[in-house]
Amino acid sequence: MKSTPTRFTCAFAACLFASSALARPILYSHSTTVMAEYAEDLMKDVQVTYAPGYYLAFGLGHLEFDGSGPGVEHEINFLRLNTLVKRWNFEAAQSNVFIWGGLGKSSITISADALGNTGHNHGGAVNTGQPVTFNETAGNIGGQIDYETRRFYSSFATDSQFAASFTHRMDTLQLGVAPYEHEANGLATFFIVSATKISGNLQEEETQVALLLRLFKKSFWMEAGATTDGKPQARVMITF
């Protein structure tokens, strides 16, 4: 039986890594990408990656979690590596296979009040009147296959989190359409439907559906929308 802090930490680590998977994990050679992400009741996240080639990107990031209740603070600092395994270039389309992996150190701090309020001992921690911090190293591995044109976007991604005490997996299917075909310097607009199946031993298996509006132009990319139960999501990315 896992302790509650460990469950919190691992669950949020899983959400971090999975939700940080961009529409395309690597953009172009010699580019630096800064990304910020917000998901209500879940997390805030900032990360920076550098791509030395079109087939490789590595980076680091920091996030803070919001959804774990009063008196509980979560942070993860992580390193990540994305690789493009295969690309097919068609006349007006592109298809890719990516794989990625990462390592993160998660920390969860629970205030004395929160410890007292839960009625649990949080994995054996005794409420001494002082905040308690738990640390754990989490690994991540995943992959994505996609196909896109200027009118249509599709991808399937699988992302697994693991540590000594847990496994967590998210499988995401995204389908998108554009109302028009954008040009190189023009604004691109896509309407995206995203369905994610969450499984593993951290929580009950469930499937979430989100509706998202994706916009990008030149070096700016953003995606915003909400899950079908009304929780907003937003991601912003700048590349230079």
Binding site: S29, N89, R150, H182
Partner: protein, 108 residues
Amino acid sequence: MKRILVVSLLLSLASTAIHATTIEMKVHGMVCGFCAQGIEKSFRKLPATADVTVSLENQLVVVSTREGTDIADTDLHKLIEEAGYDLKQIVRTNRPMQEIREQVAQKQ
């Protein structure tokens, strides 16, 4: 007579190549602004590059070179492939970049 025609044709082609200021490339795989941006940035790093434009609609990358300079086909292939795309065709012309931009804009 036939020999003269062949020589004339070769001289004509050579002349076009020497004075070419515009390289038009058909490139496969470009589907978004980020694709275009990556390719543009690669070409702008070259000293010979005067200007670059990309058309996703026409799968076209156009580079104008500085006077008296050119970019070898092998370098063009290398740049496009290192950016992650497939270079299918190279055509050298004397068309001004502005004319190409206007033509591309009309097609949109």
